[in-house]
Amino acid sequence: MDIKDVENLAKLARIELSEDEKRDLLHDMDSILGYVKQIEEMKIEDTEPEHGVRNVWREDTIEQRDFSPELIVKQFPDAQDGFLKVKKIL
């Protein structure tokens, strides 16, 4: 890994980093990835992904849920007439 890789990952994750932190992260990530690389040596037969997969159904009925729309709207960083206001995207 080099500093360009850290910058690219930060860009993908939409996180702004200072130059100092980029260097720190490069060092930490190198050592952590070096450790978890052990997984390469694990010999695993091809297993089917069966873990925890099951269908969960419910009746298609309307049920009362106790949550507060007021509290949700109140926490929008910017709102207008009860709608969430965001910056222009295109």
Binding site: D5, A10, E16, S31, I44, H51, K74
Partner: protein, 478 residues
Amino acid sequence: MIDLDTLTITKARVALDGKIFSAVDLAKAYLAEIEKKNKELNAYLEVYDDVLDQAKEADERIAKGDSSPLLGIPLAIKDVILIKGRKVSSASKILENYTASYDATAIIKLKKQGAVFLGRTNMDEFALGSSTENSAYGVTKNPHDTNRVPGGTSGGSAVAVASNMALASLGSDTGGSVRHPAAFCGVVGMKPTYGGVSRYGLIAAVSSFDVIGPITKTTEDAQIIFDVIKGNDILDSTSVPDNFYEKISLKKELIIGVPWDLINQEGINLEIKKNFEEVVKSFENLGYKIKDIKLPNCLALYYIINFAEVSTNLARFDGVRYGLHKDGKNLLEDYLLTKGAGFGKETRRRILLGAYVLSAGYYDAYYGKAQKARIALRKEFIELFSEVDLILTPTSPIPAWKIGEKSDPLSMYLADIFTVTANLVGVPAVSLPSGFMEIEDLAQAGKRLPLGIQLMASHGAEDLLFEIGKKFEANIAL
């Protein structure tokens, strides 16, 4: 005066129902302790201002002859579980002023019982860490030695119980976050089977590992809370249906598996090993059969999945709908600034690591391989539990370390070696206090550090953990 040192939920229930003291008296006693200790220990991020009102309501119900196991019992709640109308921040700046708009399912169940919520407790930001040092609101201190960490990530919840600032508490366990601080603070911490308690209203860290669990003074208290909060929930499709796992019948002679290979390797503190060997002998004396088993070191596997899911789960904190918002020139700049300022160091590190292990060129080598290894491990465990009833290890390979001592993140990850396996496989586990160890610089002050052992059982076999836990407590003098 209520003797908080020896008080348990069981004893408090008798006293409340017998009108020996009221729920208001009890709440006042805990508020007084919080007033005295929290400034130094920093277990609570917020103490609620309506504690006595809640207690009064409980007293009114008691006066009417109402009784339920947790009616009027003062609890601390980890700052990651939603209570409607109250702040919940996951100890992060990005959620500093966030107010929950609904109750977590576990909270609804506790409210029905009439439990009293004292406040929300400190933790590692987004439940990422092993020491509560990663909180955006300062470290929580271990009451046994305030120079040391309380363990993590539910450090505040463990300290609250260990220092009489709550009778019991809720934590959440992703890779040991309930058991690890329980061991460091000398209390009981229980991680239920994955899906045994609903995750609805629990802020997600690693969705396929997370589970809410109790931190208490006794095994019986942990059982009381677990029995209240457990159960299938329509709002959490990963919660297991009742009777999903075959009920195991209790046998006369139980076999405890001990992975000696893992325990005898380098990096395990010698005092902890000595304490553990004594515990094994005690179990033998109690009539359990000990069997040597093999367990792999699962840390690499655990952390790859942890990074991947953390990276995905935390992507939603973008400053658009709620939480911190930093204004930039355009939407992209809003994201960059908000996430840069809102997430702490360890959180940023894990998000990037997750992005790495999930990226196109490395997916197969890391995340894809880890998923396969996880399935293989689960199969291995199901087989293992046909040979043994329980698996015994120390909870942590090292005792509580000094605050700031582990600045290298990898060295802290290694402290989770015994606890992560239960989360990978989804089995229940409990950490029980197993004694103390002497530390040179503490001996003069007459202080010692608590140690803990961990027991794992097969899926859905919580009752077995409670049974053996009670026996252990009754027969082992700490």
